[in-house]
C-alpha cells in the first residue's frame, strides 16, 4: 500500500486502543456496546420485570428466590461501529511547502490510512468518501483489513482538484449516515468562516460523533517567501501579486484568528478538533486521538 507500510501497521497494532467510545446502532456485531440492551455479551446492563413472551433463559432465579418475583437479566449487546472517513479532495490539498515531506493530501491520506487500519483492527466498519467540487469517490463501509487496500487504492488514484467540500454533497452524505456512527474529516478548511460554520452545523444536525483533522502546511502559516510574488490560487486559479514581506505580520495574525475560529467551531461535546501540521509525526497525532477518544 502506498500510504501505509508494514512497519507503521505493526506500530498501530501495538497501540493500546480500546476502540471508539460509541454506542453503535449498526446491525453489525462488534466490539462497541449497542443502545439495545438485549444483546448477548458478558456485560450486565439491568434488571426488568418479566413479561410474557420473554425468553425464560434470562430469568434470574436467584432474585426470584429472594423476592418471589420474576426478573429478567439484560446484557449490553456489542456491535461493530461504522466509521466514515471523509477526505477533502479540493485543489488546495495538493499544496506542499518546500519544507514539508508530503503535500497536504499525501499527509491526509497517510493519517487516514493509519486511523482506518486502527479501526479495522478493532473490527469496526470503515467507509471512505473523497469529496471536492469536481470529484466524489466513495467506498462503502467494510471491516476487514483487505478493505484498507481499497482505501489506499482510491486515495492514490485521487488527484485533488476543484473547490472544497460542497455543502449539498456533504449534507446528503451526512443524512445517509446511521445515528451514532462516526465521521472523521480530513480537510485544510481553506474557506470562509461562513462555510466553516455551515459544515459544523450540517454535522451537528445528525448528532454524530465527529473528529476533524485540520491539515495545515507550515508554509501556509508563515508565508516565508521574499520579494514580489504572484500567488496562484490552487482551487480557483486566480492570480494575485503580493509582496509577502508587506503583509506577513497581518497575515499571521489573521491566520491565527482563523485557526482559533476553526478550533472553536469544531470543539463541541460531539466533535473533536485535531490540528495536523504536515511536519507533525503521524504517530503523535494518533496517540493524541487515542487519548482523547
Amino acid at each position: 500500500m502506498k500510504f501505509i507500510d508494514d512497519a507503521t501497521l505493526a506500530r498501530i497494532k501495538s497501540f493500546k486502543y480500546s476502540g471508539l467510545n460509541v454506542n453503535s446502532e449498526s446491525l453489525l456485531s462488534g466490539e462497541h456496546p449497542s443502545r439495545s440492551r438485549k444483546g448477548i455479551s458478558q456485560e450486565f446492563a439491568e434488571y426488568r420485570h418479566y413479561a410474557i413472551g420473554d425468553d425464560t433463559r434470562f430469568i434470574d432465579w436467584k432474585v426470584y428466590a429472594k423476592r418471589d418475583r420474576l426478573f429478567i437479566k439484560e446484557f449490553i449487546e456489542e456491535k461493530a461501529a461504522v466509521i466514515h472517513f471523509l477526505a477533502d479532495a479540493s485543489g488546495s490539498m495538493n499544496f506542499k511547502g518546500s519544507g514539508a515531506a508530503f503535500s497536504k493530501w499525501e499527509y491526509s491520506a497517510r493519517l487516514l490510512m493509519s486511523l482506518a487500519c486502527l479501526c479495522f483492527i478493532k473490527g469496526d466498519y470503515c467507509g471512505l468518501y473523497c469529496m471536492s467540487g469536481s470529484l466524489n469517490r466513495e467506498i462503502p463501509p467494510g471491516a476487514s483489513l483487505k478493505h484498507a487496500a481499497f482505501f489506499d487504492s482510491v486515495l492514490e488514484k485521487t488527484n485533488p482538484s476543484g473547490d472544497s467540500i460542497p455543502l449539498e454533497d456533504l449534507k446528503l452524505y451526512v443524512s445517509k449516515m446511521e445515528k451514532n456512527s462516526v465521521l472523521v474529516v480530513f480537510s485544510d478548511l481553506m474557506f470562509e468562516s461562513e462555510k466553516i460554520a455551515s459544515i459544523s452545523a450540517i454535522i451537528g444536525t445528525k448528532k454524530i460523533r465527529t473528529y476533524v483533522f485540520h491539515v495545515i502546511d507550515g508554509f501556509e502559516k508563515d508565508i516565508p517567501w521574499k520579494g514580489p510574488l504572484t500567488f496562484l490560487d490552487m482551487e480557483t486559479n486566480v492570480e494575485m501579486p503580493i509582496v509577502p514581506d508587506y503583509v506577513r505580520d497581518s497575515y499571521n495574525a489573521e491566520f491565527s484568528k482563523w485557526l482559533k475560529l476553526c478550533k472553536t467551531l469544531y470543539t463541541t461535546p460531539r466533535t473533536r478538533y485535531f490540528p495536523a501540521f504536515t511536519d507533525m509525526r503521524i504517530d503523535g497525532i494518533i496517540e493524541k486521538f487515542i487519548t482523547l477518544t
Partner: protein, 698 residues
C-alpha cells in the same frame, strides 16, 4: 531664493530618476502556487492603500533626497530671518549688490504724519540702506514722479554724495507713475552682469502709480525676475480732503477764458471739494481775489461736500486768485488757483445772401449761421448776416471777412466792393451759371460746367498751417460731395477733393489780391449735393480754413494748466519779444515769442504765474508793456490726492519704522546649502525607515 551656482540646476531633472527606474525596471514577480488566497486576499486589500502610499512615499523621498543634493550643489541663498538666525552672519552671500534707488517726488510724498512728510521718511530709509552697503556694492539713483526725472542713471560708490543729493531734494507737484521709472531701472540693470540686482522704490506705493503698469511687474519691458524689488509702504491718513476743481459762470472750464459778460459785473465761483474719508466735517473755505478775501464753510455729510459759491466782482482785465480749504495731512491740494483772462477782440464776419433760400435749413447760409451760434471755436468771431440789398450800403472794410452765399443771385452786385481789403468767401449755390461767370472774372480762373461725381475731402498734409489743428478724432476722408465745379486756376488750392485715385482741385481756391483775399468754395453746401455741413468735422474744418485765410492762430489758449504742463501764451503782435515770467515762488525766467506765440515749461510750482513783455523789446510802436497771467494747479484727476496706497504692491514692503532690517533681509541672503544637505539626509533616512517597515499596524 537665489542660487550662486545655478548651472547645477540643469541637473535637477535627474531627481526624477527614481521614478523612471521604478517604471522602467520594475521587477517581474515569481509565480507560486498557493493553497487558497482567501486569507491573503483579505489582508492584502485591507493594506493595499497603505502599501501604495508607502511605495510612493519611498519614491518621493528618493527623489527629494536627490533634489536636495542637487540644490545643495547649486549653493542656494535664502533671505529669511530664520536662516540668518540659524547660520553664522558671515554667511551672507549673493555677491556685491547693485542697487537702483528710485525716489518718488510726486506730490503725495508731501503728506505729513508723525512730524515729517513721506518724503522725509523715504530719505531716511534710503540713507539707512546706503549706509549698509559695502565697499564692493554700487548704487544708482533717480527721482521720478510721472516719469524718471533728471540725469540718466549711473553707478556710483560715493554713497554719501547720493545721500546728500536725495536729502537736498523735495517733492514736486506731479503725479505718480511707476511704469516709466521701473522700466528705466530694469533697462539700466540689464546691462549689469554681476552682483545681486535690487530696485529700491522709495515711494508711498501710491495706488494711482499703478494705473499704467498694473500690479504686475512682469509686464514691464526689460523685466528680470532675478532683480529684487522692494518699496516703502505708508498708511492712508485719517483725514484727507481736497479741492477737486472750481467752476465759474461765464468762464470756459477748459481754457479759463471769458465766455461772455461785461466787466464790472460779479462772477460766481463754485468749489467742488472731495474727501477720501467718510466722517462728517465742516471745512472752512477762503477765496482771495484782488487783495480781498471772502470766507465760507463747506459741509461734508459723509458722502459729499456741499458746493460753496463765492461771488467775485469783475473789475476788467484778468482775474486771478486762489481758493483755500482748511489744511489737512496734504495742504497742497487744499489750494486751487485760478486765472481768468479777457479774450482777444472778436473778429467781425459778414454773411450776405441774395436768395432767402440760402439761409433755410439744408442750405449753405443756414449751416454757416448755425456754426457761428453754436460752436465753441466761434467765440473769437462775431457774425452778422444780412440780405444783399441791405448790404449794399455797408463798408466791407469794417469786416475781417465777408461770405457771399449763393453767387447766382448777386448778378455782379458788389463788384466794386470786391477790390477792397479783406476776405471774401464765395459759396456757390446748386445751379450757379451767372454767379460763376462773375467769379471767373473776379478770380481770373476758368470753370467748367458743374460735375456730378461722388468725391471726398482729401486730408491736407501739405500745408503745415493745419498741423496745429487736431483732426485726430474726425474722419476727414468721409466728407463727400456729389457735385462740384472743376477749376483751371493758377491760384493755390487750400483743400482738394479726391475720389481715392484722382485729385480734383479744388475745394477751396485762394487768390491773394492787392486789396485782400478771395476764397472760392467750388462745391455747394446744399444737402442735396454735399454732406459736408452735417459732418462733425465740418466745424473744425471750417474754422481752421477761416483762421488760415485770416492768418490767425486759432488754437485754444489755456490760462489754467496742471503742474508740469507747458503754458502756451499769445501776444497781439507777431514780432519777436522777450517775455519775463515770474513764478509763484518769486523766481523769474525769460522766454522769447515767435510769431506772437511763446511757451513756458517750468511750471512745477503751483500758483499764479505772471508774465510781461519787456517794453523796449516788445516790438510794439508804443513800446507798451503787455502782460498776462496763468494759474498752475495740481492734477487731481489721477487720484493722487486720494493718498491711497496699494495694500499689495508688487514688491517687498519695507517697514518705514525699521527700513534697514527689511532692506538687509531682502537684499542679502544666507547660503543654506548645509540645510539642503541635511534635508537630503533626512529624506534618505525616512526612505530607509519606510523601506524597512514591516507594515504591522492596522
Amino acid at each position: 531664493m537665489s542660487f550662486l551656482n545655478p548651472s547645477f540646476l540643469w541637473f535637477l531633472p535627474l531627481s526624477a530618476a527614481p521614478v523612471l527606474i521604478h517604471l522602467l525596471f520594475a521587477k517581474k514577480s515569481l509565480k507560486i502556487e498557493f493553497s487558497s488566497l482567501f486569507l491573503l486576499r483579505e489582508v492584502y486589500f485591507r493594506r493595499l492603500n497603505r502599501i501604495r502610499i508607502s511605495k510612493w512615499l519611498i519614491l518621493l523621498m528618493r527623489c527629494l533626497a536627490l533634489c536636495f543634493l542637487l540644490a545643495a550643489f547649486s549653493r542656494p541663498v535664502a533671505n529669511l530671518a530664520f536662516f540668518r538666525n540659524l547660520l553664522p552672519s558671515n554667511s551672507y552671500s549673493g555677491g556685491p549688490l547693485r542697487v537702483v534707488f528710485l525716489i518718488d517726488r510726486s506730490y503725495s510724498m508731501k503728506c505729513r504724519f508723525l512730524g515729517a512728510d513721506r518724503y522725509g521718511f523715504s530719505v531716511k530709509a534710503v540713507s539707512a540702506a546706503l549706509k549698509s552697503l559695502n565697499r564692493d556694492d554700487r548704487a544708482a539713483f533717480g527721482f521720478f514722479s510721472d516719469s524718471l526725472e533728471g540725469p540718466e542713471l549711473a553707478w556710483s560708490s560715493d554713497f554719501e554724495n547720493i545721500r546728500q543729493k536725495i536729502r537736498n531734494s523735495m517733492p514736486g507737484s506731479k503725479t505718480t507713475d511707476y511704469k516709466a521709472a521701473l522700466e528705466k531701472a530694469y533697462e539700466f540693470l540689464s546691462k549689469e552682469k554681476d552682483g545681486k540686482k535690487i530696485i529700491f522704490v522709495a515711494s508711498d506705493s501710491s495706488m494711482d502709480g499703478f494705473r499704467k503698469s498694473g500690479n504686475d511687474l512682469s509686464r514691464l519691458s526689460n523685466y528680470d525676475s532675478q532683480t529684487a524689488v522692494m518699496g516703502l509702504f505708508f498708511e492712508k491718513p485719517e483725514n484727507n480732503f481736497w479741492i477737486e476743481k472750481i467752476h465759474a459762470d461765464s468762464i470756459d472750464d477748459e481754457s479759463g477764458l471769458y465766455k461772455s459778460g461785461s466787466f464790472g459785473e460779479k462772477i460766481k465761483i463754485n468749489s467742488e471739494v472731495l474727501s477720501s474719508t467718510s466722517s462728517f466735517a465742516v471745512l472752512k473755505m477762503k477765496i482771495e481775489s484782488g487783495g480781498a478775501a471772502r470766507f465760507g464753510k463747506a459741509v461734508f455729510n459723509g458722502k459729499n461736500f456741499s458746493i460753496l459759491t463765492f461771488e467775485i466782482p469783475l473789475e476788467g482785465g484778468d482775474l486771478n486768485g486762489k481758493l483755500t480749504a482748511d489744511h489737512d495731512a496734504l495742504p497742497e491740494d487744499n489750494e486751487y488757483f485760478y486765472s481768468f483772462s479777457k479774450p482777444a477782440v472778436k473778429k467781425r464776419i459778414l454773411l450776405v445772401w441774395a436768395n432767402p433760400v440760402s439761409i433755410k435749413p439744408g442750405y449753405g447760409g443756414y449751416f454757416i449761421k448755425q456754426l457761428f451760434e453754436r460752436v465753441k471755436e466761434s467765440s473769437v468771431f462775431e457774425l452778422e448776416s444780412m440780405e444783399a440789398s441791405k448790404a449794399e450800403g455797408i463798408a466791407f472794410e469794417n469786416y475781417s471777412a465777408v461770405i457771399l452765399c449763393g453767387l447766382d443771385a448777386f448778378n455782379g452786385r458788389f463788384k466794386e466792393k470786391l477790390s477792397g481789403p479783406g476776405l471774401l468767401w464765395l459759396i456757390p449755390s446748386s445751379v450757379d451759371k451767372y454767379g460763376m461767370r462773375t467769379v471767373e472774372s473776379m478770380m481770373g480762373i476758368k470753370t467748367a460746367a458743374a460735375v456730378s461725381k461722388k468725391v471726398f475731402l482729401e486730408e491736407n498734409k501739405e500745408n503745415p498751417f493745419f498741423d496745429k489743428f487736431d483732426f485726430s478724432n474726425y474722419e476727414v476722408g468721409k466728407v463727400s460731395a456729389a457735385r462740384f465745379f472743376p477749376v483751371e486756376s493758377p491760384h493755390a488750392a487750400i483743400w482738394n477733393f479726391s475720389d481715392g485715385a484722382v485729385r480734383y482741385p479744388a475745394l477751396i481756391l485762394k487768390k491773394s489780391t492787392t486789396g485782400g483775399i478771395l476764397l472760392l468754395w467750388t462745391s455747394s453746401l446744399d444737402l442735396e449735393f454735399s454732406d459736408m455741413a452735417v459732418k462733425p468735422v465740418f466745424a473744425k474744418w471750417f474754422f481752421s480754413s477761416l483762421a488760415h485765410a485770416l492768418n490767425m492762430d486759432f488754437s485754444l489758449k489755456k490760462n489754467m494748466i496742471f503742474a508740469g504742463e507747458k503754458f502756451d501764451g499769445r501776444l497781439k503782435n507777431s514780432s519777436m519779444s522777450k517775455i519775463e515770467i515770474t513764478a509763484p515762488d518769486g523766481k523769474t525766467n525769460h522766454v522769447y515769442s515767435e510769431g506772437g506765440n511763446f511757451s513756458y515749461e517750468l511750471t512745477d510750482v503751483c500758483g499764479i504765474y505772471r508774465w510781461k513783455t519787456s517794453g523796449a523789446e516788445s516790438g510794439l510802436p508804443s513800446r507798451a508793456v503787455v502782460e498776462g497771467s496763468f494759474a498752475v494747479n495740481l492734477d487731481r484727476s489721477t487720484g493722487e490726492s486720494l493718498l491711497e496706497t496699494e495694500d499689495t504692491p508688487p514688491w517687498k514692503k519695507i517697514n518705514i519704522n525699521d527700513p534697514l532690517a527689511d532692506f538687509t533681509a531682502a537684499a542679502y541672503g544666507t547660503e543654506i546649502w548645509q540645510i539642503m544637505l541635511i534635508l537630503g539626509l533626512v529624506c534618505s533616512l525616512v526612505e530607509f525607515v519606510l523601506g524597512s517597515r514591516k507594515y504591522v499596524k492596522d
